[in-house]
Amino acid sequence: MTDDEYVLAALRIAAGADPVPARVSTDARAVYGLRLPGALTAGPVGVPSGVQQPSGLQQPSGVRPPSGVRSGGRPADGEPRLLRFAAGGVTIDVEITICDSHIDLAGQVQPAPGKGARVEIRTPHVSKIRFPSETGEFATTGLPHGWLSVVCHRPGNPPIATRWQCVRL
Protein backbone atom coordinates (compact mmCIF):
# COMPACT_ATOMS: atom_id res chain seq x y z
CA MET A 1 0.00 0.00 0.00
CA THR A 2 1.50 3.32 -1.03
CA ASP A 3 1.28 6.65 0.73
CA ASP A 4 -1.30 7.72 -1.87
CA GLU A 5 -3.50 4.80 -0.98
CA TYR A 6 -3.29 5.61 2.72
CA VAL A 7 -4.45 9.11 1.95
CA LEU A 8 -7.34 7.87 -0.18
CA ALA A 9 -8.39 5.38 2.49
CA ALA A 10 -8.38 8.11 5.13
CA LEU A 11 -10.44 10.39 2.87
CA ARG A 12 -12.97 7.65 2.17
CA ILE A 13 -13.39 6.87 5.83
CA ALA A 14 -13.90 10.50 6.73
CA ALA A 15 -16.39 10.99 3.88
CA GLY A 16 -18.36 7.86 4.64
CA ALA A 17 -18.13 7.22 0.89
CA ASP A 18 -18.21 3.67 -0.43
CA PRO A 19 -20.36 2.22 2.37
CA VAL A 20 -19.70 -1.32 3.56
CA PRO A 21 -22.14 -3.70 1.88
CA ALA A 22 -24.65 -5.04 4.40
CA ARG A 23 -23.56 -8.59 3.61
CA VAL A 24 -19.98 -7.84 4.67
CA SER A 25 -21.12 -6.64 8.08
CA THR A 26 -23.55 -9.51 8.48
CA ASP A 27 -20.81 -12.02 7.66
CA ALA A 28 -18.43 -10.31 10.09
CA ARG A 29 -20.97 -10.58 12.92
CA ALA A 30 -21.65 -14.21 12.05
CA VAL A 31 -17.96 -15.12 12.44
CA TYR A 32 -18.51 -14.97 16.19
CA GLY A 33 -20.53 -18.18 15.90
CA LEU A 34 -17.53 -19.94 14.33
CA ARG A 35 -15.39 -19.83 17.47
CA LEU A 36 -14.06 -23.19 18.61
CA PRO A 37 -12.89 -22.68 22.19
CA GLY A 38 -9.91 -24.85 23.03
CA ALA A 39 -9.28 -25.93 19.45
CA LEU A 40 -5.76 -26.21 18.05
CA THR A 41 -5.34 -24.23 14.85
CA ALA A 42 -3.55 -26.21 12.15
CA GLY A 43 -1.51 -23.90 9.94
CA PRO A 44 -0.58 -24.62 6.35
CA VAL A 45 2.59 -26.60 5.74
CA GLY A 46 4.28 -27.56 2.52
CA VAL A 47 3.19 -30.70 0.75
CA PRO A 48 6.19 -32.89 -0.12
CA SER A 49 6.30 -33.72 -3.80
CA GLY A 50 5.04 -37.14 -4.70
CA VAL A 51 2.57 -37.28 -1.83
CA GLN A 52 -0.27 -39.59 -2.64
CA GLN A 53 -3.53 -37.72 -2.61
CA PRO A 54 -6.48 -38.94 -0.59
CA SER A 55 -8.49 -41.42 -2.56
CA GLY A 56 -11.80 -40.68 -0.91
CA LEU A 57 -13.23 -38.59 -3.69
CA GLN A 58 -14.21 -39.99 -7.03
CA GLN A 59 -13.36 -37.36 -9.58
CA PRO A 60 -16.50 -36.35 -11.46
CA SER A 61 -16.00 -35.96 -15.18
CA GLY A 62 -15.78 -32.51 -16.69
CA VAL A 63 -14.64 -30.66 -13.59
CA ARG A 64 -12.65 -27.48 -14.05
CA PRO A 65 -9.14 -27.19 -12.77
CA PRO A 66 -8.83 -25.37 -9.45
CA SER A 67 -7.52 -22.08 -10.69
CA GLY A 68 -8.29 -19.96 -7.75
CA VAL A 69 -7.59 -21.33 -4.31
CA ARG A 70 -6.16 -18.04 -3.18
CA SER A 71 -4.80 -19.12 0.12
CA GLY A 72 -1.94 -21.34 -0.73
CA GLY A 73 0.47 -22.71 -3.23
CA ARG A 74 0.59 -22.33 -6.96
CA PRO A 75 -2.17 -23.15 -9.38
CA ALA A 76 -1.98 -26.75 -10.50
CA ASP A 77 -3.88 -26.73 -13.76
CA GLY A 78 -5.91 -29.83 -14.35
CA GLU A 79 -5.28 -31.25 -10.91
CA PRO A 80 -7.20 -30.88 -7.70
CA ARG A 81 -5.34 -28.73 -5.20
CA LEU A 82 -3.74 -30.47 -2.26
CA LEU A 83 -3.30 -28.45 0.91
CA ARG A 84 -1.65 -29.74 4.05
CA PHE A 85 -2.18 -28.48 7.59
CA ALA A 86 -0.53 -29.60 10.79
CA ALA A 87 -0.86 -29.06 14.52
CA GLY A 88 -0.34 -31.12 17.66
CA GLY A 89 1.30 -34.00 15.80
CA VAL A 90 -1.69 -34.37 13.47
CA THR A 91 -1.65 -33.69 9.74
CA ILE A 92 -4.79 -32.91 7.79
CA ASP A 93 -4.51 -33.17 4.01
CA VAL A 94 -7.29 -31.55 2.03
CA GLU A 95 -7.80 -32.02 -1.68
CA ILE A 96 -10.03 -29.39 -3.24
CA THR A 97 -11.72 -29.57 -6.61
CA ILE A 98 -13.42 -26.38 -7.74
CA CYS A 99 -16.37 -26.90 -10.05
CA ASP A 100 -18.45 -24.16 -11.66
CA SER A 101 -21.16 -24.20 -9.05
CA HIS A 102 -19.60 -25.86 -6.03
CA ILE A 103 -16.51 -27.34 -4.39
CA ASP A 104 -15.76 -31.02 -3.84
CA LEU A 105 -13.41 -31.93 -1.07
CA ALA A 106 -11.59 -35.07 0.02
CA GLY A 107 -9.07 -35.39 2.77
CA GLN A 108 -7.19 -37.48 5.23
CA VAL A 109 -6.30 -37.10 8.90
CA GLN A 110 -2.96 -38.66 9.85
CA PRO A 111 -2.45 -40.47 12.06
CA ALA A 112 -5.99 -41.81 11.68
CA PRO A 113 -7.99 -40.37 14.57
CA GLY A 114 -9.59 -43.67 15.58
CA LYS A 115 -13.02 -44.57 16.84
CA GLY A 116 -15.48 -41.88 17.75
CA ALA A 117 -13.73 -39.16 15.78
CA ARG A 118 -15.71 -36.82 13.56
CA VAL A 119 -14.56 -34.56 10.77
CA GLU A 120 -16.54 -31.38 10.39
CA ILE A 121 -16.24 -29.51 7.10
CA ARG A 122 -17.27 -25.95 7.81
CA THR A 123 -18.20 -22.97 5.72
CA PRO A 124 -19.49 -19.78 7.32
CA HIS A 125 -23.07 -20.92 6.69
CA VAL A 126 -22.99 -24.70 6.26
CA SER A 127 -21.38 -27.46 8.28
CA LYS A 128 -21.09 -31.11 7.23
CA ILE A 129 -20.12 -34.00 9.50
CA ARG A 130 -18.21 -37.01 8.22
CA PHE A 131 -16.94 -40.07 10.10
CA PRO A 132 -13.44 -40.76 8.81
CA SER A 133 -12.50 -44.20 7.54
CA GLU A 134 -10.08 -46.46 9.41
CA THR A 135 -7.30 -44.78 7.50
CA GLY A 136 -8.58 -41.32 8.37
CA GLU A 137 -10.06 -40.48 4.97
CA PHE A 138 -13.16 -38.40 4.45
CA ALA A 139 -14.94 -36.64 1.57
CA THR A 140 -17.84 -34.37 0.80
CA THR A 141 -19.28 -32.69 -2.25
CA GLY A 142 -21.41 -29.70 -3.07
CA LEU A 143 -19.81 -27.09 -0.83
CA PRO A 144 -20.35 -23.45 -1.77
CA HIS A 145 -17.43 -21.42 -3.13
CA GLY A 146 -15.79 -19.26 -0.53
CA TRP A 147 -14.40 -19.85 2.93
CA LEU A 148 -13.89 -23.28 4.38
CA SER A 149 -12.17 -25.01 7.27
CA VAL A 150 -11.87 -28.67 8.27
CA VAL A 151 -12.13 -29.63 11.93
CA CYS A 152 -11.20 -33.00 13.39
CA HIS A 153 -13.05 -33.70 16.64
CA ARG A 154 -11.32 -36.43 18.68
CA PRO A 155 -12.72 -38.00 21.84
CA GLY A 156 -10.63 -36.94 24.82
CA ASN A 157 -8.48 -34.49 22.83
CA PRO A 158 -8.96 -30.90 21.73
CA PRO A 159 -10.37 -30.42 18.24
CA ILE A 160 -7.92 -29.52 15.47
CA ALA A 161 -9.13 -26.92 12.99
CA THR A 162 -7.41 -25.96 9.77
CA ARG A 163 -7.00 -22.29 9.13
CA TRP A 164 -9.81 -20.86 7.04
CA GLN A 165 -9.15 -20.90 3.30
CA CYS A 166 -10.86 -18.87 0.62
CA VAL A 167 -11.65 -21.06 -2.38
CA ARG A 168 -13.00 -19.39 -5.49
CA LEU A 169 -12.87 -19.84 -9.23
Binding site: M1, D3, D4, E5, Y6, V7, L8, A9, A10, L11, R12, I13, A14, A15, G16, A17, D18, P19, V20, P21, R23, V24, S25, D27, A28, R29, V31, Y32, L34, R35, L36, T41, G43, P44, R70, S71, G72, G73, R74, P75, P124, W147, A161, R163, W164, Q165, C166, R168
Partner: protein, 172 residues
Protein backbone atom coordinates in the same frame (compact mmCIF):
# COMPACT_ATOMS: atom_id res chain seq x y z
CA UNK B 1 -12.47 0.56 25.43
CA UNK B 2 -10.37 -2.47 26.27
CA UNK B 3 -11.63 -5.91 25.38
CA UNK B 4 -11.12 -8.92 27.57
CA UNK B 5 -10.72 -11.48 24.84
CA UNK B 6 -11.24 -14.40 27.16
CA UNK B 7 -14.67 -12.98 27.79
CA UNK B 8 -15.30 -11.59 24.34
CA UNK B 9 -19.02 -12.08 24.13
CA UNK B 10 -21.32 -11.51 21.20
CA UNK B 11 -22.21 -7.89 22.03
CA UNK B 12 -18.48 -7.10 22.33
CA UNK B 13 -17.86 -8.77 18.97
CA UNK B 14 -20.68 -6.81 17.33
CA UNK B 15 -19.18 -3.68 18.82
CA UNK B 16 -15.84 -4.52 17.16
CA UNK B 17 -17.64 -4.97 13.82
CA UNK B 18 -19.38 -1.65 14.32
CA UNK B 19 -16.20 0.21 15.27
CA UNK B 20 -13.71 -1.23 12.82
CA UNK B 21 -15.74 -2.70 9.95
CA UNK B 22 -15.68 0.46 7.91
CA UNK B 23 -11.99 1.13 8.36
CA UNK B 24 -11.22 -2.46 7.34
CA UNK B 25 -13.39 -2.08 4.26
CA UNK B 26 -11.72 1.21 3.30
CA UNK B 27 -8.26 -0.32 3.67
CA UNK B 28 -9.21 -3.23 1.40
CA UNK B 29 -10.78 -0.90 -1.17
CA UNK B 30 -7.73 1.35 -1.10
CA UNK B 31 -5.84 -1.52 -2.72
CA UNK B 32 -8.17 -1.19 -5.66
CA UNK B 33 -9.98 -4.44 -4.87
CA UNK B 34 -13.49 -4.88 -6.24
CA UNK B 35 -16.26 -5.46 -3.75
CA UNK B 36 -16.02 -9.29 -3.86
CA UNK B 37 -12.28 -9.29 -3.21
CA UNK B 38 -12.54 -6.54 -0.59
CA UNK B 39 -15.24 -8.57 1.18
CA UNK B 40 -12.89 -11.58 1.20
CA UNK B 41 -10.05 -9.51 2.67
CA UNK B 42 -12.29 -8.20 5.44
CA UNK B 43 -13.79 -11.61 6.17
CA UNK B 44 -10.27 -13.07 6.26
CA UNK B 45 -9.35 -10.69 9.07
CA UNK B 46 -12.39 -11.65 11.14
CA UNK B 47 -11.70 -15.35 10.62
CA UNK B 48 -8.03 -14.86 11.56
CA UNK B 49 -9.21 -13.13 14.72
CA UNK B 50 -11.35 -16.13 15.64
CA UNK B 51 -8.36 -18.41 14.98
CA UNK B 52 -5.97 -16.22 16.94
CA UNK B 53 -8.01 -15.09 19.93
CA UNK B 54 -5.81 -17.01 22.32
CA UNK B 55 -2.61 -15.47 20.94
CA UNK B 56 -3.61 -11.83 21.28
CA UNK B 57 -1.86 -10.44 24.31
CA UNK B 58 -2.99 -6.86 24.19
CA UNK B 59 -6.75 -6.56 23.84
CA UNK B 60 -6.55 -2.80 23.33
CA UNK B 61 -4.78 -3.39 20.07
CA UNK B 62 -7.44 -5.60 18.52
CA UNK B 63 -8.58 -2.78 16.23
CA UNK B 64 -5.07 -2.15 14.94
CA UNK B 65 -4.60 -5.90 14.56
CA UNK B 66 -7.78 -6.20 12.48
CA UNK B 67 -6.73 -3.36 10.20
CA UNK B 68 -3.21 -4.72 9.79
CA UNK B 69 -4.55 -8.16 8.99
CA UNK B 70 -7.03 -6.76 6.47
CA UNK B 71 -4.15 -4.91 4.81
CA UNK B 72 -2.04 -8.07 4.57
CA UNK B 73 -4.92 -10.08 3.12
CA UNK B 74 -5.81 -7.30 0.68
CA UNK B 75 -2.17 -7.11 -0.43
CA UNK B 76 -2.10 -10.86 -1.05
CA UNK B 77 -5.29 -10.76 -3.10
CA UNK B 78 -4.08 -7.69 -4.98
CA UNK B 79 -0.80 -9.43 -5.86
CA UNK B 80 -2.59 -12.53 -7.06
CA UNK B 81 -4.95 -10.41 -9.20
CA UNK B 82 -1.96 -8.66 -10.69
CA UNK B 83 -0.69 -11.96 -12.00
CA UNK B 84 2.05 -12.38 -9.42
CA UNK B 85 2.49 -15.87 -8.00
CA UNK B 86 0.09 -16.55 -5.19
CA UNK B 87 1.76 -15.75 -1.92
CA UNK B 88 1.73 -18.50 0.62
CA UNK B 89 -0.51 -17.96 3.59
CA UNK B 90 1.70 -16.45 6.28
CA UNK B 91 2.14 -18.77 9.21
CA UNK B 92 1.75 -15.92 11.67
CA UNK B 93 0.02 -12.60 11.41
CA UNK B 94 2.61 -9.87 11.99
CA UNK B 95 2.18 -7.69 15.05
CA UNK B 96 0.48 -4.38 14.27
CA UNK B 97 3.04 -2.29 16.13
CA UNK B 98 3.68 0.98 14.38
CA UNK B 99 1.36 0.18 11.49
CA UNK B 100 1.00 3.47 9.62
CA UNK B 101 -2.48 2.61 8.34
CA UNK B 102 -3.85 2.04 11.79
CA UNK B 103 -2.18 5.22 12.98
CA UNK B 104 -3.48 7.29 10.12
CA UNK B 105 -7.06 6.22 9.83
CA UNK B 106 -8.49 8.36 12.57
CA UNK B 107 -11.38 10.81 12.33
CA UNK B 108 -9.01 13.68 13.04
CA UNK B 109 -6.78 12.72 10.10
CA UNK B 110 -9.81 12.53 7.85
CA UNK B 111 -10.98 15.98 8.87
CA UNK B 112 -7.55 17.48 8.29
CA UNK B 113 -7.23 15.79 4.92
CA UNK B 114 -10.61 17.06 3.72
CA UNK B 115 -9.81 20.57 4.94
CA UNK B 116 -6.61 20.34 2.89
CA UNK B 117 -8.51 19.03 -0.18
CA UNK B 118 -10.70 22.13 -0.01
CA UNK B 119 -7.64 24.34 -0.33
CA UNK B 120 -6.40 22.60 -3.51
CA UNK B 121 -6.87 24.22 -6.91
CA UNK B 122 -8.84 22.63 -9.70
CA UNK B 123 -8.77 20.07 -11.16
CA UNK B 124 -7.26 18.53 -8.03
CA UNK B 125 -10.18 19.30 -5.77
CA UNK B 126 -12.79 17.79 -8.09
CA UNK B 127 -10.62 14.89 -9.16
CA UNK B 128 -9.87 13.76 -5.60
CA UNK B 129 -13.51 14.16 -4.59
CA UNK B 130 -14.59 11.96 -7.50
CA UNK B 131 -11.91 9.34 -6.85
CA UNK B 132 -12.95 9.12 -3.21
CA UNK B 133 -16.70 9.23 -3.66
CA UNK B 134 -16.92 7.06 -6.79
CA UNK B 135 -14.31 4.41 -6.06
CA UNK B 136 -15.39 2.24 -8.99
CA UNK B 137 -15.09 5.02 -11.57
CA UNK B 138 -12.42 4.23 -14.13
CA UNK B 139 -10.10 6.76 -15.71
CA UNK B 140 -12.39 7.03 -18.76
CA UNK B 141 -15.33 8.00 -16.58
CA UNK B 142 -13.25 10.45 -14.58
CA UNK B 143 -11.95 11.99 -17.82
CA UNK B 144 -15.50 12.48 -19.10
CA UNK B 145 -16.75 13.97 -15.84
CA UNK B 146 -13.85 16.42 -15.59
CA UNK B 147 -13.51 17.08 -19.31
CA UNK B 148 -9.86 16.06 -19.22
CA UNK B 149 -7.86 13.84 -21.60
CA UNK B 150 -7.84 10.29 -20.28
CA UNK B 151 -4.06 10.14 -20.48
CA UNK B 152 -3.69 12.98 -18.02
CA UNK B 153 -5.85 11.46 -15.26
CA UNK B 154 -3.13 9.21 -13.83
CA UNK B 155 -0.36 11.85 -13.73
CA UNK B 156 -2.79 14.48 -12.38
CA UNK B 157 -4.01 12.09 -9.69
CA UNK B 158 -0.41 11.48 -8.60
CA UNK B 159 0.42 15.19 -8.62
CA UNK B 160 -2.73 16.11 -6.63
CA UNK B 161 -2.08 13.46 -4.01
CA UNK B 162 1.54 14.58 -3.65
CA UNK B 163 0.35 18.15 -3.21
CA UNK B 164 -2.19 17.03 -0.61
CA UNK B 165 0.42 15.06 1.33
CA UNK B 166 2.80 18.00 1.34
CA UNK B 167 0.03 20.26 2.71
CA UNK B 168 -0.61 17.80 5.50
CA UNK B 169 3.09 17.52 6.30
CA UNK B 170 3.44 21.33 6.40
CA UNK B 171 0.52 21.39 8.78
CA UNK B 172 2.18 19.01 11.25
Amino acid sequence: MPYDLDLLDEPAWRDLVERFGYRMWAVARAFGLDSTDAADAVQAAWLRLVESLHTIRDPERVGAWLITTTRHEAARIHRSRSGAPLAALPAEIPAPDGDPVAAMLTEEDGRRLWAAVDTLREPCRSLLRLIVCAPDAGYAQLARRLDMPIGSIGPTRGRCLRRLRSLIEEDR
